[in-house]
């Protein structure tokens, strides 16, 4: 893999996945859809971390450890986020972001 596929290809893949996730997070009305976009973005960040580890510092562990921390934080984020989605749904019977506008001026 390392001898054949240049690092830039992997980083371009990660950039593409990040932009797809960004589009999903910004465009979806459904809050769960937004969270799915954020998950895609976090995944692309992990691809970057692992790629830089494998290509530039394969004998160390810093990149892998950082990726594992990202996964742990993402898991915590999605758990709290979905709990909030369920609480919002209970209070307002909708999970469309543009209908939850109590704070709108």
């Amino acid at each position: 893999m390392v001898g054949s596929v240049p690092l830039v290809w992997v980083l371009t893949l990660a950039a593409g996945l990040f932009c797809i996730g960004l589009f999903g997070a910004l465009s979806r009305r459904n809050i769960v859809g937004m969270l799915m976009g954020i998950e895609l973005m976090l995944n692309s960040v992990n691809i970057n971390l692992v790629a830089f580890w494998r290509y530039l510092q394969p004998t160390g562990t810093a990149g892998l450890i950082f990726a594992i921390f990202t996964i742990a934080v993402a898991a915590a984020e999605v758990a709290v986020g979905l709990a909030m989605v369920i609480a919002i749904y209970r209070a307002r019977l909708t999970i469309n972001a543009d209908e939850i506008d109590t704070l709108k001026g």
């Binding site: 893999m1 593409g16 910004l26 995944n43 450890i65 898991a75």
Partner: protein, 228 residues
């Protein structure tokens, strides 16, 4: 140059990006979640290709296993009656598209500008330590054992902090989603929800959208007689 590795990489990249695009474009949110699992599996395959076996397994367990199930549960608990004409994206979704494409257009040229430098550094990094007995020069990629050693040594404090974070997230999720018994109400079935919407108790999201299936119509009468 190994053409098989290049081919495998391209297949995995297409799988990951293709399912990623499906996640953000399909109308049905459950299909979207299923495509998300495909995308996660593609990323795990990429980790395997990059010899990060431990991370690939973690990716399958945490993302494809736990996170996707959590997302599916959240979708099913917050089920909405979305018909054909209901919008799934914001009115100005093209702004989001412009932002995403613009960011891609900024990142990629920057990456390719520095590509040659990184290739040089990568070539240097792939050389293992000089063998003492004149054996083949082999590179030892960090394994799960070394990850464990790092966690218990160099990264002990962050490791503990993350464990506290996970505990807080666990308690926080329970507290946020908890509902007191006195305020707890029965979860409406899909038919009852449709019936309420039809009678205008909850305003329908889109007048053209809500298609009332025949079974639901039958239960509308049942619900009415129940309340009478």
């Amino acid at each position: 140059m190994n053409p098989i590795a290049i081919g495998v990489f391209i297949v995995i990249a297409l799988l990951t990006l293709g399912s990623g695009i499906m996640v953000v474009t399909v109308r049905n949110i459950i299909h979207s979640a299923l495509w998300l699992i495909a995308s996660f599996i593609g990323v795990a395959a990429l980790y395997l290709l990059m010899e990060a076996e431990f991370l690939a397994v973690v990716q399958i367990l945490v993302y494809a296993g736990a996170v996707s199930i959590l997302v599916l549960f959240a979708i099913m608990l917050t089920r909405q009656v979305t018909g054909e004409g209901v919008r799934v994206v914001f009115e100005r979704w093209w702004v989001a598209l412009l932002i995403a494409l613009g960011l891609f257009g900024v990142i990629v040229p920057t990456l390719w500008k520095h590509g040659a430098t990184w290739e040089e550094a990568a070539k240097l990094a792939q050389v293992g330590p000089t063998p003492v007995d004149g054996a083949a020069n082999s590179l030892q990629v960090a394994t799960a054992t070394e990850i464990g050693r790092s966690f218990m040594g160099e990264y002990l404090l962050p490791f503990e902090v993350v464990s506290v974070l996970l505990l807080m997230a666990l308690i926080g999720a329970v507290v946020i989603a908890y509902e007191e018994r006195t305020r707890r109400r029965r979860v409406l079935t899909l038919a009852e929800e449709l019936a309420l919407k039809k009678r205008g108790i909850v305003e329908p999201r889109d007048a053209e959208g809500a298609v009332v299936p025949r079974e639901a119509e039958g239960k509308v009468i049942l619900l009415d007689s129940e309340q009478a």
